[in-house]
Amino acid sequence: MKNNKLKRNAMPYLYIAPTVILMAGLLITPIVQVIRYSFYDNAFVKKNPLPVGWLNYQKVLTDPVFWQSVRETIFFVIVSIVGHIVMALIFAHLLNTTMFKQRTKTVARIIYILPWIFTATVISVMWKLFFQPAGVMNYLLGFVGLATKNTEWFSNKDIALYVVTYINLWSGYPFYMISVLAGLQGISPDLYESAAIDGATSFKSFRFITLPQLKPILLSLVMLDFVWTLKTFAIVWTLTAGGPMHATEIISLYIYRTAFMENHFSLASAAAVFLLIVCGIVAVFYTRQQFKIQED
């Protein structure tokens, strides 16, 4: 009897054990390792690295390129989040109106999702072609007489970050749009009818019905986007590799360069620990938010 009960209680843990073990092996171990490296000198490179205390942190925090990277990352992340949410709201509303027929909307939905189904590399190549000096962008701008035909979108350090951020906006919005669309479709049409009778204009309906109803979804999306954008790597790397002159070197690229191009694994680990802490804090908020949604 007792044995049986024990078995039953242990059962669920047995089911999740493979995942937990894999996670521990593949995620926790490297994280612990990275934290350990960040307190050693020349980890990985030397056979017997020496513990150096907070020295690596000191070096990273006094590196002007690191701070430049942090500033660029903040810009990149905040503009991406705001942009994604705004685009998601606008496109989701377009896909959700009653102005178009169902079939039109289905086709539009597929087109709108396209950026999502390509890998970062493919997207990079397309945008590179678009923005190359002899590319479509310059042709169009020249056409309306707005810019010289040879604007170097990626090698001008004053605009490269804007261009990369812009491309990140377009490559990432579909997920947010689909999530918002699902949210919109979950709002009872009665509420809008009721609001219309209560005296609301469409803007007021959006402000007082749509936004509050979407709030839990939007909060989740903001936090997910924060973590995802913070660790963006492939698209920026394939577009600019962080250049010119670190102008697009967001934190993930900074870590990559320090570790794998300059072989300063200890310094890279210290920088990575910063990223880990920031992501960890957001993850905690995200989890709390999820619990709150479940409670409501």
Binding site: K101, E193, S194, A195, A196, I197, D198, G199, F208
Partner: protein, 382 residues
């Protein structure tokens, strides 16, 4: 002052989407056809009819939630066909309440005032007044989710009456409540009416609600008005078989019968039972010069007597429902089931021999109780 006038209003749903998606011919739904009604200031009008007869559509056209296909709609003699709902100064209570889930009860009720830029003090005062009337003061800080069905209903009503609209529209506001609460809320709506003094248009599929609430009731079927009358009038003088069967519970019984004219007197004959119509009915029929013909005879359950005379109709009791002060007998007569209400208050023994299952009974009725309908179902008296 708020009158509402519907002139030849109709609504057609084109179902264009259906056509685009499937290879079936687009079938337009005529939800409402040629609806004419003039609602007086502070009148309580009830639209009643079976599900799908176009009540909600009519109400939603008054509210401005549904475009009017044809006809003219006036509120206070101003044509409002193309006016936005928010400019019509109407309020509506929805069947499922449509409360704003993210707002507290206070904010829900305050919302229409807030949108009209009413000063904060004034909002607070009016919301509290309304909460007082509806007895929901203690829930003002709660979210709708934490309320019972009846409480939500009150909040929905509160939100509708707080800004004192010209017209208050209600679409089956009680149908999501359990029977006991429904009766209670019905009484409260009657009481509310005296307090807030506005024009009501109320939709229900429940004839009891319609009878008890309405000054006038509009009985609808398949998008057409069948009759507009006071509850008593609709009950006593139904315009046609449909109204006769719909109004009153249990429903009126119908028999195939013959109407026979002898001078200015009229008789109905069902099988061997021959009944002379009441003088008043004879006079009406004679005035319209109605001839002898085959008719459908309608008699209400409460007007049928269980009886052992000579020529009464014969049937077999199938079901006998004891209701306390009366018994409802379901009597099999030919291929029909005839419902008879037998009052038994204090004298159950007297009737007990009739009230048994499988018992043969005879029954008859008087000339006052007869409603005569022609082959098309129209009331011949009307």
């Amino acid at each position: 002052m708020a009158t509402v006038e519907l002139k030849h209003i109709s609504k057609v749903f084109s179902n264009a989407e259906k056509k685009a998606n499937k290879n079936i011919p687009a079938e337009a739904t005529h939800a409402v056809s040629d609806f004419n009604l003039k609602i007086a200031d502070k009148e309580f009008v009830v639209l009643v009819g079976p599900s799908g007869c176009g009540k909600s559509t009519t109400l939603r056209m008054i509210a401005g939630l549904e475009e009017i296909t044809d006809g003219e709609l006036y509120i206070d003699d101003v044509q409002v066909n193309d006016m936005e709902p928010k400019d019509r100064d109407i309020a509506m209570v929805f069947q499922n309440y449509a409360l704003y889930p993210h707002m507290t009860v206070f904010d829900n009720i305050a919302f229409p005032l807030k949108l009209r830029k009413t000063p904060k003090e004034e909002i607070k005062k009016r919301v509290e007044e309304v909460a007082q009337i509806l007895d929901i003061t203690e829930y003002l800080k709660r979210k709708p989710k934490k309320l019972s069905g009846g409480q939500r209903q009150r909040v929905a009503i509160g939100r509708a009456i707080v800004r004192e609209p010209k017209v208050l529209l209600m679409d089956e506001p009680l149908s999501n409540l359990d029977a006991k609460l429904r009766n209670q809320m019905r009484a409260e709506i009657i009481a509310l009416r005296d307090k807030i003094n506005t024009t009501f248009v109320y939709v229900t599929h429940d004839q009891t609600e319609a009878m008890t609430l309405g000054d006038r009731i509009v009985i609808m079927k398949d998008g057409f008005i069948q009759q507009v009358a006071s509850p008593q009038d609709a009950f006593d003088h139904p315009a046609n078989i449909f109204v006769a069967g719909f109004i009153g519970a249990p429903a009126m019984n119908f028999f195939p019968a013959k109407l026979e004219r002898v001078g200015d007197e009229y008789y109905v004959q069902v099988e061997k039972l021959r009944v002379k119509l009441a003088d008043e009915k004879c006079a009406k029929l004679a005035a319209k010069n109605v001839a002898s013909q085959d008719i459908t005879l309608g008699v209400r359950p409460s007007h049928i007597r269980v009886d052992q005379g000579g020529d009464e109709l014969q049937g077999t009791i199938e079901v006998s429902e004891m209701m306390g002060t009366e018994v409802h007998l379901h009597v099999k007569h030919n291929d029909n089931v005839v419902v008879i209400i037998v009052p038994v208050a204090g004298s159950y023994e007297k009737y007990s021999k009739y009230l048994k299952h499988d018992q043969k009974v005879g029954f008859s009725f008087d000339g006052e109780a007869c409603h005569v309908f022609d082959a098309e179902g129209k009331n011949l008296e009307a």
